[in-house]
């Protein structure tokens, strides 16, 4: 859920899509400006955060990775809960991954947060010669389902910042909190102060 601080909007963002579609690569490109040709399956990352300045506000994305739990369709409700935005990623060189992306869209629609900003990313746009998913088909699908669509390449960085920037612009500015936020437990000994921080 997007929560507004003074001028900062905190927004949880989740990535969904087939194994190997490039979810982690997109995040790494966005957060660290890096790209690894052979990015390993996601292990070890919990979430990343990155701050973006848009016209009227600062948006602080808290980006959750699937941690591989999507592989056997075993994502926990916890993953979707309170997400203000989702990027559904497919690989333009794989029709299967596009079909799976549609399944993830359905899954998100079932979770029923009407305010969630959803973006469809056709990744690996640098592999144009191996393309099997036509741009028009994906765009038509996205329009029908109210998604924002763009083709990206984590490898060349094409449109990567753009997709996050566009999401930041589309986040509702004064979203009424569905459930007032609670406190995250933080240990004083490791954090300097053992305090439950309240992210209201």
């Amino acid at each position: 859920m997007a929560t507004t601080g003074q001028n900062t909007l905190n927004a949880k963002l989740v990535l969904l899509g087939d194994m190997g579609a490039g979810k982690s690569s997109l995040v790494l490109r966005f957060v660290k400006g890096q790209f690894h040709e052979f990015q390993e399956s996601t292990i070890g990352a919990a979430f990343f955060s990155q701050t973006l300045a848009v016209n009227d506000a600062t948006v602080k994305f808290e980006i959750w990775d699937t941690a591989g739990q999507e592989r056997y369709h075993s994502l926990a409700p916890m993953y979707y809960r309170g997400a203000a935005a989702a990027i559904i990623v497919y690989d333009i060189t794989s029709t299967d991954s596009f079909a799976r992306a549609k399944k993830w869209v359905q899954e998100l629609q079932k979770q029923g947060n009407p305010n969630m900003v959803m973006a469809l990313a056709g990744n690996k746009a640098d592999l144009a010669d191996k393309r099997v998913v036509p741009v028009e088909e994906a765009r038509a699908y996205a329009e029908e389902n109210g998604l924002f669509f763009i083709e990206t390449s984590a490898k060349t960085a094409a449109n990567v910042n753009e997709i996050f920037y566009e999401i930041a612009k589309r986040l509702p500015r004064a979203q009424p909190a569905q459930n007032p936020a609670g406190m995250v437990l933080v240990d004083r000994q490791t954090e300097g102060s053992r305090a439950a921080s309240c992210c209201a």
């Binding site: 601080g5 900062t8 905190n10 949880k12 660290k32 292990i43 070890g44 990352a45 919990a46 979430f47 990343f48 955060s49 990155q50 602080k60 808290e62 980006i63 941690a67 591989g68 739990q69 592989r71 056997y72 369709h73 075993s74 926990a76 409700p77 916890m78 993953y79 809960r81 029923g112 569905q178 459930n179 007032p180 936020a181 609670g182 406190m183 995250v184 437990l185 933080v186 240990d187 490791t190 954090e191 102060s193 053992r194 305090a195 439950a196 921080s197 309240c198 992210c199 209201a200």
Partner: protein, 569 residues
């Protein structure tokens, strides 16, 4: 069998250090702990959701879960009677694995006397807005071992909590007295005289002095060993504490389960040592987190979040997750009798030297296939240590049982509801601000220990009839205006589920079965026993090696928690 089972790609790899079946809290902690030390772990669950007997379920799913686990599993088709040979095993298996036999795995009933009543037709339409705990009533104490474990493991990042606004104790006259959360609150209590307050003051001084010296060499201020071994109630009498305060300390702070006034025949006499430890836990819980008022907290979206948080932690550390994947049989080594793997519903064989099974799994007896005698004997021996029962109730209402309080704990100590009441009945009300029900509604959990279903149900019904206005056409004329003892309008009962749950302990040999949720209010004992299981299984490994946030930051793997910038309120 579910179609989705077969749409999965085969599980790859097929050999692990540990296979865990069931995603209850103990199983999830074990998966996370093993993954954190670099073990390869496969975590399976037959259900399409996380949490097993520790989950929080939508309204429509709860009755079917309880009912499906209150009768023996349907008899499954006989599986292959032969030992499977190298040819039908996976390519990666070694020759020794052809010495394995399959032994069927099924489930056993752990709930009984499930009683669902619905007084409101509209509730089912809102089913998915409910997250109903199977383990209720359950909270965390800010300083308890579950909170410590969440912090140590990193699972704390995924769950948000809120305070329980207050704790109340019901006295014999039906009045609810507030449990003080600080010393100053006690001294402000106008129902106590000056002499009583002075006695209380010296009692606290004594306890504090004792706690300071425990673990150090000094001893002058320690409470004597003799006193520590005495019943806590006698010690409190010796300190000449007022009856009301004594009752609050025993039942609403130390959370004694049985009547401590009738020591003969009391199932669980609370000794002074344990009583003082629990008082210390309560005391250190208050103010541990500076914006958590009071001692108790509850997770937003329900207790089921805790299993999910540990599973996510495990996944982040490399654990492989497959829901909707029942285990049909165990693969047992013919020579040693130890478990070497599992055969899952897709037919795949998966191997591992260590295996953890959730509490409701069992090996059906007699065995379908004949095994070497020693193995027969060994498997026949698997008994589960069942230590009594707990009666649980889940009620839904549309007004709070205490005006102006949304989330609260109410303790009905022994004899407060009826004269033969020997156990304490704990009631936890959770409001919609915790995202467990639609706004304007409340979920009320009840539990009490019992010897049998009759006793357990009697206690639950006594509490429900006291708390709620129950719309039964025969007994009550105008229930909507019924008032409780303190003149508050009683909330209407819209829906309820009552059930009796077996309290089975975990077992380790020859297979590891985890605990059912215990009858306590927190997870302290459960975390301790789960840690023991881990240490038996991996004696060389630390139970969650210390990791600090700063380390993770250096790796660039973990951004600061979203709330860092708004620490102090």
């Amino acid at each position: 069998m579910d179609d989705t089972t077969f749409s999965y790609p085969p599980i790859d790899p097929t050999t692990f250090d540990l296979i865990v079946v069931g995603t209850g809290l103990p199983e999830s902690i074990l998966a996370a702990a093993a993954s954190s030390t670099g073990k390869t772990v496969l975590h399976l669950d037959p259900n399409p959701y996380y949490g097993s007997h520790f989950s929080s379920l939508p309204l429509s799913d709860l009755p079917s879960f309880l009912l499906s686990h209150s009768q023996p599993a349907a008899v499954s088709l006989p599986t292959d009677l032969t030992t499977f040979s190298q040819s039908d095993a996976d390519d990666s298996t070694t020759a020794s694995q052809s010495d394995l036999v399959t032994v069927d795995l099924t489930t056993r009933p752990v709930y009984s006397d499930v009683e669902i009543s619905s007084h409101s037709a509209e509730l089912l339409e809102l089913s998915r807005k409910f997250n109903l705990d199977l383990t209720g009533p359950r909270v965390l104490f800010c300083a308890d071992s579950a909170v410590d474990l969440m912090l140590k493991s990193g699972a704390n990042q995924y769950v948000e909590f809120k305070n329980v606004d207050g704790t109340f104790l019901c006295s014999g006259d039906g009045k609810l007295s507030s449990v003080p959360d600080s010393r100053s609150a006690i001294f402000k209590d106008s129902s106590l005289g000056l002499a009583e307050k002075n006695r209380l003051g010296s009692f606290f001084k004594l306890v504090e002095g004792h706690l300071k010296e425990v673990g150090s060499d000094g001893g002058s201020r320690r409470i004597s060993e003799e006193d520590l071994e005495r019943p806590f109630v006698e010690f409190l009498d010796k300190m000449r504490l007022p009856v009301k305060i004594k009752s609050i300390i025993i039942y609403a702070i130390a959370m004694a389960d049985y009547d401590q006034d009738k020591l003969e025949g009391c199932k669980n006499v609370l000794k002074t040592r344990e009583g003082i430890n629990r008082l210390a836990l309560y005391h250190s819980s208050v103010g541990r987190f500076h914006n958590a008022l009071g001692a108790l907290i509850y997770p937003i979206y329900g207790q089921g979040e805790l299993s999910q948080a540990f599973c996510r932690r495990a996944a982040v550390k490399g654990c492989l997750y497959v829901l909707r994947m029942p285990v049909k049989a165990l693969l047992i080594d013919k020579e040693s009798g130890s478990c070497k793997g599992a055969k899952v519903a897709s037919g795949q064989h998966l191997f591992s030297n260590e295996m953890v099974l959730g509490p409701s799994f069992m090996i059906p007896w007699p065995l379908a296939n004949s095994l070497p005698d020693f193995l027969q004997a060994k498997l026949e021996d698997i008994g589960r240590d069942v230590r009594g029962k707990v009666a649980r109730g889940i009620c839904i209402t549309n007004s709070s049982l205490k005006t102006d309080v949304s989330t609260c704990l109410v303790v009905y100590p022994p004899k407060s509801l009826y004269t033969e009441q020997v156990t304490s009945i704990r009631v936890l009300q959770i409001g919609s601000s915790l995202a467990v029900c639609p706004s304007g509604m409340f979920v009320v959990y009840l539990s009490t220990f019992c010897d049998d279903a009759i006793q357990g149900k009697k206690s639950l019904h006594a509490a429900i009839n006291t708390i709620f206005s129950v719309a039964t056409s025969e007994t009550r004329e105008n229930s909507s205006y019924e008032k409780s003892e303190d003149g508050e309008v009683k909330p209407n009962l819209l829906w309820s589920a009552l059930y009796i749950q077996e309290l089975s302990m975990g077992s380790f040999d020859p297979f590891c079965f985890t605990h059912m949720p215990d009858g306590s209010l927190n997870y302290n004992d459960l975390v301790d026993s789960t840690k023991e299981v881990f240490q038996k299984m991996f004696p060389q490994e630390e139970f969650f090696p210390e990791t600090t946030f700063s380390q993770l930051d250096d790796d660039g793997e973990l951004g600061p928690s979203p709330s860092d910038d708004s620490l102090d309120s």
